[in-house]
Protein backbone atom coordinates (compact mmCIF):
# COMPACT_ATOMS: atom_id res chain seq x y z
CA UNK A 1 0.00 0.00 0.00
CA UNK A 2 1.24 3.46 -0.79
CA UNK A 3 -0.22 6.26 1.28
CA UNK A 4 -0.08 9.86 0.05
CA UNK A 5 0.04 12.42 2.84
CA UNK A 6 -0.91 15.91 1.75
CA UNK A 7 1.42 18.56 3.06
CA UNK A 8 -0.13 21.98 3.40
CA UNK A 9 2.38 24.57 4.62
CA UNK A 10 0.77 24.53 8.08
CA UNK A 11 0.26 20.77 8.33
CA UNK A 12 1.93 19.52 11.47
CA UNK A 13 0.74 15.95 11.86
CA UNK A 14 2.03 14.91 8.43
CA UNK A 15 5.17 13.33 9.86
CA UNK A 16 3.14 11.53 12.52
CA UNK A 17 0.97 9.90 9.87
CA UNK A 18 4.11 9.04 7.96
CA UNK A 19 5.56 7.29 11.00
CA UNK A 20 2.31 5.45 11.72
CA UNK A 21 2.21 4.07 8.18
CA UNK A 22 5.91 3.29 7.83
CA UNK A 23 7.06 2.43 11.38
CA UNK A 24 3.73 1.30 12.76
CA UNK A 25 2.53 -0.70 9.79
CA UNK A 26 5.64 -1.20 7.66
CA UNK A 27 3.95 0.17 4.54
CA UNK A 28 5.11 2.98 2.28
CA UNK A 29 4.10 6.61 2.41
CA UNK A 30 4.90 9.72 0.46
CA UNK A 31 4.24 13.42 0.94
CA UNK A 32 2.10 15.29 -1.57
CA UNK A 33 3.00 18.99 -1.68
CA UNK A 34 0.04 21.33 -1.66
CA UNK A 35 1.19 23.11 -4.80
CA UNK A 36 1.41 19.88 -6.75
CA UNK A 37 -1.38 18.39 -8.83
CA UNK A 38 0.03 14.88 -8.94
CA UNK A 39 -1.22 12.20 -6.60
CA UNK A 40 1.69 9.98 -7.69
CA UNK A 41 -0.34 6.85 -8.00
CA UNK A 42 -1.06 6.46 -4.29
CA UNK A 43 -3.72 4.07 -3.02
CA UNK A 44 -4.89 6.22 -0.15
CA UNK A 45 -4.86 9.97 0.41
CA UNK A 46 -4.54 11.32 3.95
CA UNK A 47 -5.26 14.93 4.83
CA UNK A 48 -3.35 15.26 8.12
CA UNK A 49 -3.86 17.49 11.14
CA UNK A 50 -2.43 20.93 11.57
CA UNK A 51 -3.32 24.44 10.54
CA UNK A 52 -3.22 24.15 6.74
CA UNK A 53 -2.88 27.86 5.88
CA UNK A 54 -2.93 29.22 9.42
CA UNK A 55 -6.68 28.67 9.69
CA UNK A 56 -7.17 32.26 10.78
CA UNK A 57 -10.36 32.54 8.72
CA UNK A 58 -12.03 29.18 9.32
CA UNK A 59 -10.23 25.90 9.72
CA UNK A 60 -9.76 24.32 6.31
CA UNK A 61 -11.47 27.14 4.41
CA UNK A 62 -8.47 28.14 2.35
CA UNK A 63 -6.91 24.70 2.03
CA UNK A 64 -9.86 23.55 0.03
CA UNK A 65 -8.76 25.78 -2.85
CA UNK A 66 -5.15 24.62 -2.98
CA UNK A 67 -3.89 23.02 -6.22
CA UNK A 68 -3.61 19.54 -4.73
CA UNK A 69 -7.19 19.63 -3.50
CA UNK A 70 -8.53 19.70 -7.04
CA UNK A 71 -6.93 16.29 -7.54
CA UNK A 72 -7.95 15.03 -4.12
CA UNK A 73 -11.55 15.99 -4.76
CA UNK A 74 -11.56 14.12 -8.08
CA UNK A 75 -9.87 11.13 -6.50
CA UNK A 76 -12.32 11.01 -3.60
CA UNK A 77 -15.37 11.52 -5.80
CA UNK A 78 -14.13 8.70 -7.99
CA UNK A 79 -14.08 6.31 -5.05
CA UNK A 80 -10.49 6.76 -3.87
CA UNK A 81 -9.88 6.03 -0.19
CA UNK A 82 -9.53 9.39 1.52
CA UNK A 83 -8.90 9.97 5.20
CA UNK A 84 -9.12 13.39 6.85
CA UNK A 85 -7.80 13.63 10.40
CA UNK A 86 -8.55 16.70 12.52
CA UNK A 87 -7.67 19.59 10.21
CA UNK A 88 -8.13 17.11 7.37
CA UNK A 89 -11.71 16.50 8.51
CA UNK A 90 -12.28 20.27 8.51
CA UNK A 91 -10.91 20.49 4.97
CA UNK A 92 -13.17 17.65 3.80
CA UNK A 93 -16.22 19.44 5.20
CA UNK A 94 -15.21 22.75 3.65
CA UNK A 95 -14.74 20.96 0.34
CA UNK A 96 -18.25 19.47 0.72
CA UNK A 97 -16.91 15.95 0.50
CA UNK A 98 -18.49 15.38 3.90
CA UNK A 99 -21.60 17.03 5.29
CA UNK A 100 -21.70 19.48 8.18
CA UNK A 101 -19.07 21.76 9.62
CA UNK A 102 -16.62 21.90 12.53
CA UNK A 103 -16.91 24.93 14.75
CA UNK A 104 -15.18 26.08 17.93
CA UNK A 105 -15.30 23.72 20.86
CA UNK A 106 -18.19 24.52 23.11
CA UNK A 107 -15.90 25.65 25.94
CA UNK A 108 -14.03 27.89 23.45
CA UNK A 109 -10.73 26.29 24.37
CA UNK A 110 -8.27 24.07 22.57
CA UNK A 111 -8.40 20.62 24.12
CA UNK A 112 -5.83 17.87 24.04
CA UNK A 113 -6.28 14.60 25.90
CA UNK A 114 -7.23 10.99 25.27
CA UNK A 115 -10.89 10.40 24.57
CA UNK A 116 -12.94 7.24 24.58
CA UNK A 117 -14.16 6.32 21.11
CA UNK A 118 -16.70 3.66 20.26
CA UNK A 119 -16.52 2.02 16.85
CA UNK A 120 -20.03 2.43 15.49
CA UNK A 121 -19.50 0.91 12.10
CA UNK A 122 -16.84 -1.73 11.50
CA UNK A 123 -17.95 -2.22 7.93
CA UNK A 124 -15.99 0.65 6.42
CA UNK A 125 -12.59 0.39 4.73
CA UNK A 126 -11.23 2.43 7.67
CA UNK A 127 -12.53 0.24 10.49
CA UNK A 128 -12.61 -3.37 9.32
CA UNK A 129 -9.77 -4.20 11.71
CA UNK A 130 -12.05 -3.33 14.62
CA UNK A 131 -15.29 -4.89 15.79
CA UNK A 132 -18.44 -2.88 16.19
CA UNK A 133 -18.66 -1.57 19.75
CA UNK A 134 -14.88 -1.68 20.29
CA UNK A 135 -13.68 0.95 22.73
CA UNK A 136 -10.55 2.89 21.73
CA UNK A 137 -8.47 5.47 23.57
CA UNK A 138 -7.13 8.03 21.17
CA UNK A 139 -5.97 11.63 21.65
CA UNK A 140 -7.78 14.68 20.43
CA UNK A 141 -5.99 17.99 19.91
CA UNK A 142 -8.18 20.71 18.48
CA UNK A 143 -9.85 24.03 19.09
CA UNK A 144 -12.51 23.69 16.39
CA UNK A 145 -13.83 20.18 16.58
CA UNK A 146 -17.48 20.64 17.37
CA UNK A 147 -19.33 18.83 14.62
CA UNK A 148 -22.56 20.57 13.59
CA UNK A 149 -25.09 19.92 10.85
CA UNK A 150 -28.80 20.37 10.16
CA UNK A 151 -30.97 17.94 12.12
CA UNK A 152 -32.13 16.38 8.87
CA UNK A 153 -28.53 15.81 7.80
CA UNK A 154 -27.73 14.24 11.14
CA UNK A 155 -30.75 11.96 10.87
CA UNK A 156 -29.73 10.90 7.40
CA UNK A 157 -26.13 10.24 8.42
CA UNK A 158 -27.31 8.17 11.37
CA UNK A 159 -29.87 6.27 9.33
CA UNK A 160 -27.24 5.34 6.76
CA UNK A 161 -24.89 4.20 9.52
CA UNK A 162 -22.32 6.72 8.45
CA UNK A 163 -21.35 7.67 11.99
CA UNK A 164 -18.13 5.71 12.36
CA UNK A 165 -16.84 6.88 15.76
CA UNK A 166 -18.61 8.39 18.73
CA UNK A 167 -17.18 9.97 21.90
CA UNK A 168 -17.99 7.74 24.87
CA UNK A 169 -17.04 7.37 28.52
CA UNK A 170 -15.15 4.50 30.14
CA UNK A 171 -18.23 2.38 30.14
CA UNK A 172 -18.87 2.99 26.45
CA UNK A 173 -21.78 5.39 26.97
CA UNK A 174 -22.15 8.41 24.70
CA UNK A 175 -22.75 10.85 27.55
CA UNK A 176 -22.53 14.61 27.47
CA UNK A 177 -19.60 14.49 29.90
CA UNK A 178 -17.73 12.24 27.45
CA UNK A 179 -18.24 14.75 24.65
CA UNK A 180 -15.08 16.88 24.59
CA UNK A 181 -16.24 19.60 22.25
CA UNK A 182 -20.03 19.62 22.08
CA UNK A 183 -20.29 17.68 18.82
CA UNK A 184 -23.84 16.88 17.73
CA UNK A 185 -24.81 13.43 18.98
CA UNK A 186 -21.24 12.83 20.20
CA UNK A 187 -20.10 12.33 16.63
CA UNK A 188 -16.32 12.03 16.31
CA UNK A 189 -16.08 10.71 12.77
CA UNK A 190 -18.27 10.14 9.71
CA UNK A 191 -18.03 8.70 6.22
CA UNK A 192 -19.62 9.84 2.98
CA UNK A 193 -22.55 7.93 1.48
CA UNK A 194 -20.24 5.77 -0.64
CA UNK A 195 -18.10 4.95 2.37
CA UNK A 196 -14.72 5.82 0.85
CA UNK A 197 -14.14 9.14 2.60
CA UNK A 198 -13.66 9.29 6.39
CA UNK A 199 -13.27 12.42 8.47
CA UNK A 200 -12.54 12.25 12.19
CA UNK A 201 -11.28 14.68 14.81
CA UNK A 202 -9.23 12.31 17.02
CA UNK A 203 -5.70 11.36 15.96
CA UNK A 204 -5.33 7.60 15.38
CA UNK A 205 -1.77 8.16 14.12
CA UNK A 206 -0.68 9.32 17.58
CA UNK A 207 -1.55 5.94 19.01
CA UNK A 208 -0.02 3.73 16.38
CA UNK A 209 3.48 3.07 17.71
CA UNK A 210 4.12 0.44 20.37
CA UNK A 211 6.99 2.45 21.83
CA UNK A 212 4.39 5.00 22.98
CA UNK A 213 2.46 2.34 24.84
CA UNK A 214 -0.86 2.44 22.96
CA UNK A 215 -1.69 1.24 19.46
CA UNK A 216 -5.45 1.69 19.50
CA UNK A 217 -5.25 3.88 16.40
CA UNK A 218 -3.25 1.53 14.22
CA UNK A 219 -6.42 -0.36 13.28
CA UNK A 220 -7.44 2.49 11.00
CA UNK A 221 -4.30 2.06 8.93
CA UNK A 222 -4.50 -1.72 9.11
CA UNK A 223 -8.06 -1.56 7.80
CA UNK A 224 -6.91 0.60 4.90
CA UNK A 225 -4.21 -1.92 4.09
CA UNK A 226 -6.81 -4.69 3.97
CA UNK A 227 -9.12 -2.59 1.82
CA UNK A 228 -6.36 -1.82 -0.66
CA UNK A 229 -5.36 -5.49 -0.77
CA UNK A 230 -9.00 -6.29 -1.50
CA UNK A 231 -8.93 -3.91 -4.42
CA UNK A 232 -11.40 -1.55 -2.81
CA UNK A 233 -11.04 2.09 -3.62
CA UNK A 234 -8.94 2.94 -6.61
CA UNK A 235 -5.41 3.93 -7.33
CA UNK A 236 -4.77 7.55 -8.23
CA UNK A 237 -3.45 8.25 -11.70
CA UNK A 238 -0.04 9.84 -11.74
CA UNK A 239 -0.18 13.07 -13.69
CA UNK A 240 1.72 13.18 -16.99
CA UNK A 241 5.20 14.53 -16.28
CA UNK A 242 4.72 17.83 -18.09
CA UNK A 243 1.61 18.68 -16.12
CA UNK A 244 3.31 17.82 -12.85
CA UNK A 245 6.17 20.13 -13.60
CA UNK A 246 3.83 22.93 -14.43
CA UNK A 247 1.93 22.39 -11.22
CA UNK A 248 5.02 22.50 -9.06
CA UNK A 249 5.63 26.05 -10.19
CA UNK A 250 1.99 27.08 -10.00
CA UNK A 251 0.85 29.70 -7.58
CA UNK A 252 -0.07 28.23 -4.23
CA UNK A 253 -3.20 28.85 -2.28
CA UNK A 254 -1.17 31.35 -0.34
CA UNK A 255 1.77 33.41 -1.39
CA UNK A 256 3.36 36.48 0.04
Amino acid sequence: MKVGIVRFPGSNCDADVYRAVTEGLGESATYLWHKSTDLEGVDVVVLPGGFSYGDYLRAGAIARFSPIMGEVIDFARGGGLTLGICNGFQVLCEAHLLPGALVRNRNLRFRCHDVGLRVENAGTPFTSAYAEGDLLHIPIAHGEGQFVAEASTLDEVEAEERVVFRYVDRRGQATDAANPNGSARNIAGIVNAEGNILGLMPHPERHSLSVLGNTDGLGVFRSLLAAVADGRGRRSDPAPPAAAEFAAGAVAGVSS
Binding site: R58, I62, F65, V103, Q146, V148
Partner: protein
Protein backbone atom coordinates in the same frame (compact mmCIF):
# COMPACT_ATOMS: atom_id res chain seq x y z
CA UNK B 1 -14.96 54.81 -13.35
CA UNK B 2 -12.98 52.52 -11.14
CA UNK B 3 -12.23 53.55 -7.56
CA UNK B 4 -11.71 51.92 -4.18
CA UNK B 5 -14.71 51.16 -2.00
CA UNK B 6 -14.80 50.30 1.66
CA UNK B 7 -16.92 47.24 2.07
CA UNK B 8 -18.03 45.62 5.31
CA UNK B 9 -18.98 41.97 5.54
CA UNK B 10 -20.85 41.02 8.68
CA UNK B 11 -20.82 37.32 9.32
CA UNK B 12 -23.07 35.98 12.05
CA UNK B 13 -23.81 32.47 13.29
CA UNK B 14 -26.94 31.13 11.64
CA UNK B 15 -30.12 31.03 13.59
CA UNK B 16 -30.21 27.71 15.41
CA UNK B 17 -26.45 27.23 15.40
CA UNK B 18 -25.02 27.32 18.89
CA UNK B 19 -22.93 30.37 19.62
CA UNK B 20 -20.77 29.55 22.64
CA UNK B 21 -18.72 32.72 22.27
CA UNK B 22 -21.81 34.92 22.41
CA UNK B 23 -23.23 32.94 25.28
CA UNK B 24 -19.99 33.26 27.24
CA UNK B 25 -19.91 37.00 26.78
CA UNK B 26 -23.52 37.22 27.97
CA UNK B 27 -22.75 35.25 31.11
CA UNK B 28 -19.61 37.22 31.81
CA UNK B 29 -21.51 40.50 31.41
CA UNK B 30 -24.09 39.21 33.86
CA UNK B 31 -21.32 38.42 36.34
CA UNK B 32 -19.95 41.92 35.93
CA UNK B 33 -23.32 43.29 36.95
CA UNK B 34 -24.73 44.30 33.57
CA UNK B 35 -28.38 43.57 33.79
CA UNK B 36 -30.80 43.56 30.95
CA UNK B 37 -28.48 42.03 28.35
CA UNK B 38 -30.97 39.66 26.77
CA UNK B 39 -28.83 38.02 24.18
CA UNK B 40 -25.39 38.22 22.63
CA UNK B 41 -24.34 36.83 19.27
CA UNK B 42 -20.68 36.82 18.35
CA UNK B 43 -19.80 37.08 14.68
CA UNK B 44 -17.05 38.36 12.46
CA UNK B 45 -16.57 41.64 10.70
CA UNK B 46 -14.43 41.64 7.60
CA UNK B 47 -13.55 45.04 6.21
CA UNK B 48 -12.26 45.16 2.66
CA UNK B 49 -10.96 47.84 0.34
CA UNK B 50 -12.21 46.80 -3.07
CA UNK B 51 -11.53 48.41 -6.39
CA UNK B 52 -14.66 48.44 -8.56
CA UNK B 53 -16.60 50.41 -11.13
CA UNK B 54 -19.29 51.44 -8.69
CA UNK B 55 -20.84 50.64 -5.35
CA UNK B 56 -23.04 47.97 -6.91
CA UNK B 57 -20.13 46.26 -8.57
CA UNK B 58 -18.12 46.37 -5.34
CA UNK B 59 -21.00 44.78 -3.52
CA UNK B 60 -21.59 42.10 -6.13
CA UNK B 61 -17.96 41.13 -6.23
CA UNK B 62 -17.72 40.97 -2.44
CA UNK B 63 -20.81 38.80 -2.31
CA UNK B 64 -19.11 36.35 -4.58
CA UNK B 65 -16.09 36.31 -2.29
CA UNK B 66 -18.37 35.55 0.63
CA UNK B 67 -20.04 32.67 -1.11
CA UNK B 68 -16.78 31.18 -2.18
CA UNK B 69 -14.57 31.80 0.79
CA UNK B 70 -15.39 34.29 3.49
CA UNK B 71 -18.50 32.65 4.93
CA UNK B 72 -19.57 29.05 5.33
CA UNK B 73 -23.29 28.97 4.53
CA UNK B 74 -23.79 25.82 6.58
CA UNK B 75 -23.14 27.69 9.77
CA UNK B 76 -23.07 31.38 8.94
CA UNK B 77 -25.16 34.16 7.43
CA UNK B 78 -23.59 37.22 5.96
CA UNK B 79 -24.52 40.72 4.90
CA UNK B 80 -22.42 42.90 2.60
CA UNK B 81 -22.57 46.65 2.90
CA UNK B 82 -20.65 49.26 0.97
CA UNK B 83 -19.73 52.10 3.30
CA UNK B 84 -19.61 55.65 2.13
CA UNK B 85 -16.66 55.63 -0.14
Amino acid sequence: MSRVWSVDVRVTPREGILDPAGETIRRALGNLGYEGVHSVRAGRLIRLEVEADGAEAAKASTEKMCEQLIANPIIEDYVVRVREG
